[in-house]
C-alpha cells in the first residue's frame, strides 16, 4: 500500500477494500461491522438516544487526544447526556488525497481504543477520498445510538428553581489546547485536552440519582453557552459563583495572554449536572470517586428570576451577565 492515501482508495473497488481491511477492520472490527452488509443489523428495544456530530478539528493531533478519539468521545458524550447507555457508533470519513496512511492508522487506532474504553461498538462506516485541496486533511462524522435508561430522561428543559448546578472539573482545557497548537500561533501552553467519554460517570449518576434534571457536556461555546441554553430551554435564571468555578492556573494564564475567557472555551470531557439541591452532595461524592470527576464542584444554582439569563457573582461580590457569544472568540489586541 502507498504511504499516502490515493483517490482510488475511496472508489469502492479493490483499493478501498484493502484500506478497509488493513486499517479499519484491524482497529475497529467486531462481529457486526465485519459482516459488511449494506447496513448493520442491531437489536434494541425501548427509548433510544441518537446523536450525530462531525469533527473537523485543526490540528488533528493535539496533546491529550486526536480527531479520532474526539470523534468517539464527542458522540458518546452527547448520547450519554440523555441518560442513555451508548451502544453503537457509525463513522464516516472524508479524507484528503495525499493524507499519510500512517496518520490515518494512528487516528483509527485511537478511535478503536476510545470505543473499547467507552464500551461502544462501531457498527457501520464509510470512507470517501476527495481530491487534494477540497478538504482539510481528514473529517470524521460519527453517529451514536444509545438506550435511554433514565425516565424521564435528563433534558435542558427540566432545570427548576432551587436546583444546584454542578460541573465535573476544570474548564477550558480542550479549547485552549487546540487554539494554542493551531498553526501560526506562537504560543504553546503546557495544557492538555480533557477529551474523554463520560458515559460511565453519567450512568453512575442516573442510577443513583433518578432526580437528575439536566446533564450536558459544555463543548463548543463552553460552560457559558451551555448554561445559557439550559436557562433558555427551561425558562429559568442561573446564578453562578465565580470563585467556585474550577479553571486550572495554566488555562487561566494562557487565556489572560490571548484575551480569551475560559468559560467560553470548549471542553470535551466535562459535564454539567443540574439536580435538586438536596441531592447535590450525593452527586458530588459520586463524581469525585470517578477519575473524570475528581474536581467536581457546585458552581451555582437555578433561580426563578431573570428567566433565560445567566448571572455571574464575582469574587468581590459584584454581578455581571454571562451571555452567549456572537461568533467565535476573537483574541484581543492589547
Amino acid at each position: 500500500m502507498s504511504d499516502k492515501i490515493l483517490l482510488d482508495q475511496g472508489s469502492g473497488g479493490l483499493a478501498s477494500h484493502r484500506l478497509v481491511a488493513d486499517v479499519f477492520f484491524k482497529h475497529l472490527g467486531n462481529p457486526i461491522l465485519n459482516r459488511m452488509d449494506d447496513a448493520a443489523l442491531l437489536n434494541a428495544s425501548g427509548p433510544l438516544a441518537v446523536s450525530t456530530d462531525s469533527f473537523t478539528v485543526d490540528p488533528i493531533f493535539f496533546p491529550g487526544g486526536d480527531i479520532g478519539a474526539l470523534a468517539v468521545h464527542g458522540t458518546v458524550n452527547d448520547v450519554a447526556m440523555l441518560g442513555a447507555r451508548p451502544l453503537y457508533l457509525t463513522c464516516g470519513f472524508i479524507i484528503e488525497e495525499g493524507f499519510a496512511v500512517a496518520d490515518l492508522e494512528r487516528i483509527v487506532a485511537s478511535m478503536g481504543q476510545a470505543a473499547r474504553k467507552a464500551k461502544v461498538r462501531i457498527v457501520a462506516g464509510d470512507t470517501k477520498v476527495v481530491p487534494r485541496g477540497t478538504a482539510d486533511k481528514i473529517f470524521i462524522n460519527t453517529t451514536g445510538i444509545g438506550q435511554v435508561l433514565a425516565n424521564p430522561a435528563p433534558s435542558g428543559h427540566r432545570a427548576k428553581p432551587g436546583d444546584a448546578v454542578i460541573i465535573s472539573g476544570t474548564l477550558g482545557d480542550h479549547g485552549l489546547t487546540v487554539l494554542s497548537h493551531r498553526q501560526g500561533l506562537s504560543f504553546e501552553a503546557p495544557v492538555q485536552s480533557d477529551c474523554a467519554s463520560l458515559n460511565h460517570l453519567t450512568l453512575k449518576l442516573i442510577e443513583a440519582l433518578p432526580k437528575v434534571h439536566v446533564l450536558r457536556d459544555p463543548t463548543r461555546g463552553g460552560l457559558a453557552t451551555s448554561l445559557n441554553e439550559i436557562a433558555q430551554q427551561s425558562s429559568v435564571g442561573i446564578v453562578l459563583d465565580e470563585p467556585a468555578i474550577p479553571v486550572s492556573d495554566v488555562v487561566r494564564a494562557g487565556c489572560d495572554i490571548l484575551g480569551l475567557d475560559p468559560l467560553y472555551l470548549a471542553n470535551e470531557g466535562k459535564l454539567i449536572c443540574v439536580l435538586p439541591q438536596k441531592y447535590a452532595q450525593q452527586a458530588l461524592t459520586i463524581m469525585r470517586r470517578d477519575p473524570l470527576g475528581r474536581q467536581a464542584r457546585v458552581i451555582g444554582s437555578v433561580v426563578a428570576d431573570r428567566p433565560g439569563k445567566v448571572v455571574l457573582r464575582t469574587g468581590m461580590g459584584g454581578h455581571r451577565m454571562l451571555g452567549m457569544l456572537e461568533g467565535e472568540q476573537l483574541p484581543r489586541i492589547c
Binding site: 501560526g184 500561533l185 506562537s186 504560543f187 465565580e242 470563585p243 467556585a244 468555578i245 474550577p246 479553571v247 487561566r252 490571548l258 484575551g259 448571572v311 455571574l312 457573582r313 464575582t314 469574587g315 468581590m316 461580590g317 459584584g318 454581578h319 455581571r320 451577565m321 451571555g323 457569544l325 456572537e326 461568533g327 472568540q329 476573537l330 483574541p331 484581543r332 489586541i333 492589547c334
Partner: protein, 368 residues
Amino acid sequence: MTSSDPLRDPARCKELLAQIEESVKGSTLRFMEVCGTHTVALFRSGVHSLLPKSVVHLTGPGCPVCVTHESEVAAYLELAGKEGVIIATFGDLMRVPGPGGASLKKAHAEGARVEVVYSPFDALAIARDNPGDKVVFLGIGFETTTPTVAATVRIARQEGLKNFLVMPFHKLVPPALDALLSDPDMAVEGFMLPGHVSAIIGMEPYRPLAERYRIPAVVAGFEPVDLLQAILLMAEMKRQGKPKVINNYKRVVADEGNPKARAIVAEVYKPVDALWRGIGTIPLSGLGFTDAYRAYDAFEVLGVELKASKPLPGCRCGEVLKGIMRPDECPLFGKACTPAQPVGPCMVSTEGSCAAYFKYQIDLNSDR
C-alpha cells in the same frame, strides 16, 4: 478562580468601596477609563455593579478597534481581495463594519486572503512563506502594541524582506486625552490611565493633565483592588481639590516607562496627525513611517490613500467614545446595533464600550 490573591480579596474590596462611598458623599463624579482592558476588567470583576450610584465611570477612546477611523477601515477593505495581497490582522478587526456593510470577514468569505494573527511576527512568517505576495499587516493599537510592530519592521529590513508591509493606524494616548479635555462637551472629572500603555510611555506625558487641565488621573492595574484604589484616589483628589497624576501601578509601570521600546518605535515611526473615529483629526496622535522605513509603508508601496468617508449612518460611536453618551443611551443600542449586527465598531471588539455594556450589564435600564 481562587481569591487568595490580595488584589482580589473581597474584604479589601468591600473596605475600598466603603471608603469611596464616604469620599463622594453628596457629590456626583464622572470618571473615565481610556483603556479597553480596563473597560472589560471593570465589568468582569463586577466593580460597575458595586459602585455608588453617584460615581459614573465612563468608557473613553481606549479600544484600538473602536477608534480606528471609518476612512482607515475603508482603506484596508479596499486592499482585501486585491490580487497578490494577503491581509494579516488581529482578529478583532475581522467583523468591523465598513462602507456598504463590508467587513474583512465577508471579504474572506468572498475569497480575499485574510489571515488572523496573534502577533506581527506571525505576519512576518506569512511574508517569508509567500514571497510572491505582499503581506499587509494592519498596524492598529496604542503605544503597547506599537513597539512589537516596529521591531517586526526592523527585522523585515534586516532580512531584506521586501513583501512585508504595514498599514500604520497606530494611535497615541496622550494627544487623545488632550483633545478630549479641550472639547467643551466633555465633562470628565478624573482619568483612570492605562496600565500597559503607561508601562511604555512612563508618567511624563501625563503631566499636563494635572498642571494644565487640573484633572486628577491615576495609572491603574487591572485587578479589582487596583481598580477600586484608582477610583478612590481620584475621588479623594477631587474632594480635596488637589489634582495630581498618580502612578498606582508601580509593580508594572516605571515612572520613566520603557525607553528601549520607545527607541525602537522612534527609529521606525514618527508622530503624524491621525484620524480618530467620532473625534476627527487629532494633531500628532498617530504614527507614520520615518524616511528610512518608507519601503514598509503599505500606503506608499501599494498606492492606497485615506479617502474622506461618510460616518456610518445613525452610529453615535463618536459620542460614546467621548463619554458624552452612555452606550445604552444610543438609540441604536441593543436594537439596530448588536454584536450580531454591529452598526459601529464599539459593538464589535471584545473591548468595545458598547459590546462590554451589551455583554456584561445586568439591567440595561438601570442608572448605570
